[in-house]
């Protein structure tokens, strides 16, 4: 890998009580790259994503964003980093049920202090982009699962983050809707230059990535790179 990675986890260990979730995991993600983190249930892939995103602090090891140590930041600094540089898509959209879809998409901008009118105008552009033009005024409970996930994708990208963290983003969707979410997410990420860290156990979802890292028993393996190096 040449140049400084956008995001890097190095020798990460994390235990929850007696359970080792990460046991020396390492990963490096370049700007604009889409990387799938794969592995069986309980292998540590979500914990790895949470460490990289500054949601969970590792017990030991380093997480660096553009060379800066995330694990050394204060809670406030990490929270600001998540708000301004990162976007998130989870398995179940985690939209705010009381807000309309448009207001949900605008929310990260409002939290940044952008005025309502401007935030909603920028959010409306994302509605069009993600084929959601007719759901803007609806609340999350009134839209389908696939539409809700696309709203979540729009909300993750509206601030034009440098990295999007997607944890099983299609886990609750059927094949057709899952495919639509993945296509729109990866197209939008490529257009805006955002890197995507994609946790999935579904190979067809990983098919949208540039490469995969496999996590097993808390350790990471980059098989494709090992195969290249062995040549």
């Amino acid at each position: 890998m040449t140049g400084q990675p956008l995001l890097e986890g190095d020798g990460l260990h994390k235990a929850f009580g007696p359970t080792k979730a990460l046991d020396g995991a390492s990963i490096a993600i370049r700007a604009g790259e889409i990387v799938a983190i794969m592995g069986p249930s309980g292998s540590g892939k979500s914990t790895l994503l949470h460490c990289l995103a500054g949601i969970v602090r590792p017990d030991s090891g380093h997480v660096r964003y553009q060379g800066a140590e995330i694990s050394a930041m204060t809670d406030g600094e990490r929270s600001a980093l998540r708000r301004t540089q990162f976007g998130f898509v989870f398995q179940f959209g985690q939209l705010v049920p009381e807000l309309t879809c448009l207001e949900n998409i605008a929310l990260p901008l409002r939290m940044e202090g952008v005025r309502r009118r401007e935030a909603e105008a920028r959010a409306a552009e994302w509605l069009d982009r993600l084929d959601l033009a007719d759901v803007g005024s609806k609340r999350p409970g009134e839209v389908s699962g696939g539409q809700g996930q696309r709203v979540a994708v729009a909300r993750a990208l509206v601030t034009r983050p440098r990295a999007v963290f997607a944890d099983e983003p299609t886990g609750a969707l059927d094949s057709l809707n899952g495919e639509r979410v993945m296509r729109l997410l990866t197209e939008a990420a490529r257009e805006t230059g955002a890197a995507v860290v994609l946790v999935t156990h579904e190979a067809r979802v990983a098919g949208y990535s540039d490469r995969e890292i496999v996590v097993r028993d808390g350790r990471t393996r980059d098989i494709a790179r090992e195969m290249e190096e062995a040549l």
């Binding site: 069986p40 949208y208 494709a224």
Partner: protein, 174 residues
């Protein structure tokens, strides 16, 4: 793939020359494995012999004569019964990957490594097909999806086998 019945189906829209049939077949169903001319003309002469197609005209040209073929009513019935009958599902019981895993365990080699390398290769192909889908039409997406679902099934088997390796090793070497 039954080339004969596919030709009959293509001829239902009107008579065609052998070359047209080959071209349409390759465009729609060939997927980087075009028909050889030998296959085309062998298939057509069999259909002709069986009364499923008939000659609709012969045009003299500079090279060989160009024959135009039309489907007969027996040919239409043949396509109909082919489309209405279920294909026999593949039992998939003779599998090279299975053989490799068992052989690795029998000979004390790392079956886990073998499975990891195979996963990477499957995913590489899945990425290629996913990219191809982005640029293709719906019919092209359909054939890519067919391949993707089969590769995904292989991968699920790889994962399950990886999770069972310890037990499997004990049984195989007992």
């Amino acid at each position: 793939m039954s080339i004969g019945q596919t030709f009959l189906g293509l001829l239902e829209s009107g008579p065609r020359h052998g070359y047209d049939l080959k071209k349409t077949y390759d465009d729609r169903f060939g997927h980087a494995r075009p028909l050889h001319y030998g296959q085309v003309y062998a298939t057509l002469s069999r259909l002709l012999k069986d009364g499923l197609v008939e000659l609709d005209g012969v045009e003299p040209g500079e090279g060989p004569e160009r024959k135009r073929y039309a489907v007969t009513s027996a040919g239409v019935s043949d396509v109909e019964s082919w489309l209405a009958s279920a294909e026999k599902p593949e039992p998939y019981l003779q599998n090279t990957l299975y053989t490799k895993v068992i052989l690795a365990l029998l000979t004390g080699r790392s079956a886990a490594d073998l499975l990891d390398v195979q996963r990477a290769e499957h995913l590489r192909l899945m990425r290629e097909l996913t990219r191809r889908k982005a640029g293709g039409d719906l019919a092209d997406n359909l054939i890519c999806d067919h391949a993707l679902f089969h590769l995904e099934a292989d991968l699920r088997w790889l994962e399950l086998t990886a999770d069972r390796l310890d037990d499997l090793r004990r049984q195989v070497r007992a």
